[in-house]
């Protein structure tokens, strides 16, 4: 169940189909780029939840947990030719007050189309009118907010938002096609770490993570007349390094204490990103769709802010 709303029970799921997002942030952490960070989506769901809970008739409804199915993601990059590095395409800023060109603040952007399955939490089952109200409000509200820094430019034409009760979640699978779902691949990371430790006992998870980004060119015989390419990723599916949350690196400051914090209403803390492995999976390959939802979790004793799948 949800970590935030542990006192409420999950009564169903809402699918928001084919959300077109433009100019979303494509830099997911200091080390990874290409697809927005998962926290960009869990944050958007939390914002949506806050707005939904203010609607008459939906006061006790909360949203948490999000499955991210990506139909299309175009990173705004340029590559002079194959074998060259990719560079992000930048935007020109308005002139400064003296009419001179403003400096370019480098950023990475992407246009993407995603479907999201979001968990609905309430004390009680929803009436039919409530479900309809929820669908309509979610449809409008999601278009009025940002997701991962990008603007929402539209939803699926025919059935943008649909609701299913908790046990029927697998009926969403055909609606998610064609897309890939981002899931967590801790198991693969552990397996790779163990594989590396068999050769080198000092190997850590970080080595495993680096290993997934490495291609080994190995000669097939001692003369080196033919070579083959090996990677630990082989046979494990579509693995990608992803940030999965933040580790606090300073004491937590009370609200309003930290200088130039973005918000003075809440406590703040300096953090840095934590990495793990993720895996893109075709929806039909996921045994239980409910296990592919990402939840926000806060571990106070270790200062960890994590996104993870549900453990049960």
């Amino acid at each position: 169940m949800s970590f935030i709303y542990s006192n409420l029970s999950c009564i169903g799921y809402v699918l928001i189909k084919k959300i077109k997002i433009i100019n979303a942030n494509a830099i997911s952490s200091p080390l990874t780029y290409g697809f927005p960070a998962i926290t960009g989506f869990t944050g958007a769901v939390h914002a949506l939840s806050r707005k939904v809970s203010q609607i008459d008739g939906l006061d006790d409804v909360r949203l948490d947990g999000v499955l991210i199915a990506c139909h299309e993601c175009q990173v705004q990059t340029y590559r002079e030719s194959s074998y060259k590095d990719f560079t992000f395409i930048q935007t020109r800023n308005p002139l400064k007050k003296d009419g001179k060109t403003a400096s370019i603040i480098e950023e990475g952007r992407c246009h993407l189309t995603v479907s999201l399955v979001i968990g609905i939490y309430a004390d009680d089952y929803l009436e039919d009118e409530q479900v309809e109200l929820l669908n309509n409000k979610v449809k409008d509200l999601i278009q009025q907010q940002r997701i991962a820094g990008g603007s929402v430019m539209g939803l699926d034409k025919f059935e943008p938002v649909s609701f299913l009760e908790q046990e029927d979640i697998s009926k969403f699978v055909p609606k998610l096609l064609p897309a890939f779902v981002l899931t967590d691949a801790h198991d693969s990371l552990q397996a790779i770490t163990q594989q590396l430790q068999a050769k080198n006992p000092n190997a850590t998870a970080l080595d495993a993570l680096l290993e997934t980004a490495t291609l080994h060119h190995v000669p097939n015989d001692e003369h080196g007349s033919s070579w083959s390419v090996e990677s630990v990723k082989k046979g494990r599916g579509w693995l990608v390094p992803i940030p999965v949350g933040y580790q606090g690196i300073s004491p937590k400051f009370d609200a309003g204490q930290m200088q130039n914090a973005r918000n003075s209403e809440y406590p703040s803390q300096y953090v840095e990103a934590i990495y793990s492995l993720g895996k893109w999976v075709f929806p039909y390959s996921i045994e239980k769709l409910a296990t592919a939802l990402w939840y926000q979790r806060y571990d106070e004793t270790q200062d960890l802010y994590l996104v993870s799948h549900k453990s049960d």
């Binding site: 002079e80 560079t87 370019i104 480098e106 009025q144 430019m153 918000n263």
Partner: protein, 336 residues
């Protein structure tokens, strides 16, 4: 807290209220009713240019040196985009989302300041309303200013704006670019839609299509990409929207929205409308029309209004609100 103790928040940012999509370029034939719309593509060209830049005096005055200099091949690789020879009409589409304008900042780390700010915006909404701004945004949609260079030389331009099940048709050339005094029933209707979106009465997303008749095979002008460190392979890269392998030509959302918010003719000695920018900067002219020393720039007007309660005249109020609708980061770090 007394009003005089208010300070601009060090972290203060507004989200854009008019959320505009990329414009997609399509094409069709105006002479053939049956003609299907197809995409406009971006193609790479390799051209042999001429030497046409100004030469150093020493070379220009010396015939012996000048001849070999001008005979050098100036080889270039550029992107270009044009209609097919069987099509004469550029069809450009984008959508414009109008979000509620409440004056609430996206982030603000000073609650007292935020309250003062929101009071100012609410006061504006009650006394002036957003009708004037809505009308100006509407005008810029229907006069097809957002086609930029594609507008120049077009024989006719029809703009169609649809919202839910309603649609309005405009002849873009009926609406002059330098005035906002047009009296038109449909324009007023469009302005109403935008106004109802700004006040949060309805959720408004407008879909805009322009049909510009510019001639068979004529060149069109998508946005140019800003690429750092390209080496010197290609000197101009145009914007490809969507699937890169299709080379579908398009215009950046930033460029379209700059045209839509070209409503500011309230700057000192105004001759033509410019885009709403904190310093009235116009990139193509390399000029900032609202210099801080004239105290007519956004920050001077805004700070005086929120912090000192000095209400600017009505036109400057529209301008300040226009900047907030545009969005941006306006915090004061204390180092200025």
């Amino acid at each position: 807290m007394a009003k005089n103790d208010l300070k601009t928040a060090s972290v203060l940012a507004f989200e854009r209220v008019l959320d505009i999509s990329d414009a997609f370029f399509w094409q069709k034939d105006s002479q053939d009713k049956e003609s299907k719309t197809s995409i406009v593509t971006v193609q790479e060209k390799s051209v042999r240019g001429t030497i046409s830049n100004r030469l150093k005096n020493a070379i220009a005055n010396n015939l012996v040196k000048l001849d070999p200099e001008t005979q050098k091949a100036n080889l270039q690789k550029v992107d270009a985009s044009s209609l097919d020879e069987s099509n004469d009409t550029l069809v450009a589409k984008f959508t414009c989302k109008v979000l509620p304008f409440t004056g609430k900042p996206n982030v603000c780390n000073d609650q007292d300041y935020q309250q003062a700010l929101m009071a100012v915006v609410q006061d504006y909404q009650q006394n002036q309303g957003v009708g004037e701004l809505a009308k100006r945004y509407a005008t810029n949609i229907v006069n097809a200013r957002w086609l930029w260079r594609n507008r120049v030389g077009a024989e006719t331009i029809t703009v169609m704006v649809s919202f839910n099940d309603d649609a309005l048709m405009f002849n873009a050339k009926d609406f002059a670019l330098n005035t906002f005094n047009h009296d038109d029933k449909d324009l007023a209707q469009l302005a109403k839609w935008i106004e109802s979106g700004l006040t949060g009465e309805k959720f408004v997303i407008l879909s805009v299509v322009a049909y510009a008749k510019i001639g068979y095979g004529q060149e069109v002008y998508p946005s140019q990409e800003l690429i750092l460190d390209t080496g010197n392979k290609k000197s101009k890269v145009l914007y490809r929207v969507g699937d890169v392998s299709k080379n579908h030509a398009g215009m950046h959302s930033q460029k379209v929205s700059n045209a839509i918010r070209t409503i500011d003719d309230w700057y000192p000695d105004a001759k033509f409308p410019i885009a709403v920018e904190p310093y009235g900067a116009v990139t193509t002219l390399g000029v900032a029309f609202r210099q801080p020393k004239q105290k007519q720039d956004f920050y001077s007007l805004f700070d005086n209004w929120v912090l000192k309660g000095e209400v600017p005249d009505i036109n400057q109020q529209h301008y300040v609100m226009g900047v907030l609708i545009r969005g941006g980061v306006f915090g004061e770090s204390g180092k200025e």
